[in-house]
């Protein structure tokens, strides 16, 4: 079991949020993060595949890596808000903590 040795700086909504709770807590900013990271990755893949004419597969692969990275980044931010590590005014108002 993980032991956090740092004190939360904001009100704690849930000390150890589950994956379902965290994903359901995604706000607009989190989804924008997912979209932004994925969108930034796709042109990288497209350009990387240009030299050997595999733009399509390269683009999809980079998009997949970007989607995974963006999702994990948004997941971290959402979990951090629920755990009281990040500013979480919206969560406090929603859960009335």
């Amino acid at each position: 079991m993980g032991i956090l040795l740092d004190e939360p700086k904001f009100p704690v909504i849930e000390r150890a949020p589950s994956a379902a709770t965290t994903i359901s807590n995604f706000n607009l900013t989190d989804w924008l993060r997912v979209t932004a990271v994925t969108s930034a990755s796709i042109p990288v893949g497209y350009l990387a595949g240009g030299s050997v004419n595999i733009r399509g597969p390269s683009m999809y692969t980079a998009g997949l890596i970007g989607l995974m990275g963006g999702f994990m980044y948004a997941y971290q931010c959402s979990a951090g808000r629920l755990m009281g590590m990040f500013p979480n005014d919206d969560e406090v108002a929603r859960y009335k903590r």
Binding site: V44, I54, T61
Partner: protein, 505 residues
């Protein structure tokens, strides 16, 4: 059961997933008739670079998003990073881990940038090398955050297995095959010694966690002649020998020269840079945090002195570039061990500063070696008249060599000055004296580069081709740091001090 544990190592999880995706992508596309069996190395290098750069977004410990950028740039001392123990105390996250991992990822990104053009020039369609580099990076990230002997050993083995393969990348070149085989045999041998040491520690003490070992060894005098203590002594000695093998310290350095020379130049670059960070970080945690005892100081003093002397004297007779840089690497490990063997917070700080600056200089040198490689640049004499054909590259290499030689006010001087300052502070006067003398001796072969570039004529006709954009950018960034580090080193000193404090407190 694992409440927070999978949240903290998200970078490692992301890297594993990205590596699997890339591996499937490579296998499917490289055998694709539709796309005419394309060579994938450059393409996969860019996707690998995308994965590594993406990893830099570790924000879960910080108050605001992108705080990690601010942390790296300016405000390390004020960034309240989270400390956490994960997976039943097998992994730890703190300032020390965080910054070592960020630094490691930057170095991996630099290495991948250097290889973008390399495989095309060598006509090597070895896309699997990028996957191996990513797997190696993942294992080093785990090694830095290991907090248990078992976790540490697993991470070391993960790293080693990836690394055994890539020296033998050039399958039709006998030196490369020889290098791979030598590294495999000696690496397996050193891993076995290290594991034996870990098993002896567990057998005599009953625990493997670093924190518990630290509590047990407080005030406990480890000697060779006590009934139980001798077993513990031998166990720790074996662990030390295993680590010293892997970091190419005298007298366990023999394999490094042939492996560095026989491996493809890109692999030599990676050998010189990446393992030093992770293994030194691990050694600091094991020997300064867990097994803190003056007994080991004598061993590391000896290794430091021997490495500095051998690195200085043996390199003087070398004519081949890679072999000379291998001896230089051994010598620099000796300098880094000055800080390590002092065992103080300032010692750890000087070690971290030394590693950072050494890595920057090595990236710079190997980027130049790779850029000149297409002209059959193997011997130092091949650099003759470089000043006439490529003056900017000559100035770059000259400045880097002066930095290696410790000439002020370059970054190399700053790191060595602080290391010797720390040695004097903890009473290791002999260490500092030998360090200064060996630096003077090493000036000979570093400045020999400058003499050959400016004053010698080449032995054969050489055609110089323009360098690719990525290497140029990398050279510019590293040269900037090497040259202007002395103007504003405070942020970096603050970061390294924070790292050292998080380890000791």
């Amino acid at each position: 059961m694992f409440e927070h544990d999978f949240l903290a190592p998200f970078p490692e999880i992301f890297l594993i997933n990205a590596t699997i995706i890339l591996l499937i992508y490579e296998v499917v596309l490289s055998t694709s008739k539709k796309y005419d069996y394309p060579p994938l190395v450059r393409n996969v290098s860019w996707l690998g670079l995308l994965s590594v750069v993406r990893l830099g977004g570790r924000v879960w410990e910080n108050e605001e998003p992108y705080r990690y950028l601010i942390t790296i740039l300016l405000l390390a001392a004020n960034a309240p990073l989270t400390v956490a123990n994960l997976f039943y105390n097998n992994l730890i996250i703190n300032n020390f881990t965080y910054f070592c991992q960020i630094f490691l990822l930057l170095n991996t990104a630099s290495t991948i940038v250097m290889c973008l053009d390399y495989f095309k020039e060598e006509s090597l369609n070895a896309f699997e090398s990028i996957v191996l580099i990513l797997l190696f990076t993942r294992s080093m990230l785990l090694m830095i955050s290991a907090y248990d002997l078992i976790a540490m050993y697993l991470a070391i083995e993960l790293q080693s297995l990836c690394f055994y393969v890539i020296p033998a990348l050039k399958r039709d070149f006998e030196f490369s095959t020889e290098a791979g085989l030598k590294y495999f045999i000696l690496g397996a041998f050193s891993s076995g010694i290290l594991l034996f040491g870990c098993s002896m520690i567990y057998g005599f003490i009953g625990v493997t966690n670093f924190e518990e070992l630290a509590k047990i060894f407080i005030g406990y005098k480890i000697t060779l002649f006590g009934a139980q203590s001798s077993g513990i002594f031998m166990g720790i000695l074996f662990i030390a020998v295993g680590f010293l093998f892997k970091i190419t310290t005298v007298p366990f350095h023999m394999w490094a020269l042939d492996v560095y020379e026989g491996s493809p130049t890109l692999v030599t670059t990676f050998f010189s840079i990446a393992p030093k960070i992770s293994i030194l970080a691990n050694m600091v945690r094991v020997f300064i945090y867990s097994f803190y005892d003056p007994t080991w100081q004598q061993l590391f003093f000896f290794c430091s002195i021997a490495s500095m002397i051998l690195g200085a004297l043996a390199a003087m007779a070398q004519n081949k570039v890679k072999r000379l840089l291998a001896y230089s690497s051994i010598g620099h490990v000796g300098y880094l061990f000055i800080g390590f063997s002092c065992g103080t917070i300032e010692g750890i700080q000087s070690l971290l500063i030394g590693v950072f600056i050494y890595v920057l200089m090595t990236i710079n040198v190997f980027a130049i070696v790779l850029a000149l490689r297409q002209n059959c640049f193997k011997y130092i004499a091949d650099l003759g008249a470089l000043a006439k054909t490529n003056p900017i590259l000559t100035i770059t290499l000259s400045i880097t060599m002066f930095s290696y030689a410790g000439i002020p006010p370059l970054a190399g001087f700053c790191s060595k000055f602080y290391l010797f300052f720390v040695a004097l502070g903890c009473g290791a006067y002999l260490l500092a004296l030998i360090g200064v003398v060996t630096i003077f001796i090493s000036c000979f072969y570093y400045i020999r580069f400058v003499k050959i570039m400016y004053f010698d004529t080449p032995k054969t006709w050489i055609l110089y081709k323009p360098m690719d954009r990525e290497k140029s950018l990398l050279l510019a960034i590293t040269l900037f740091f090497i040259t202007f580090f002395f103007l504003y080193p405070s942020p970096f000193f603050l970061i390294t001090h924070q790292m050292a404090l998080s380890l000791c407190l």
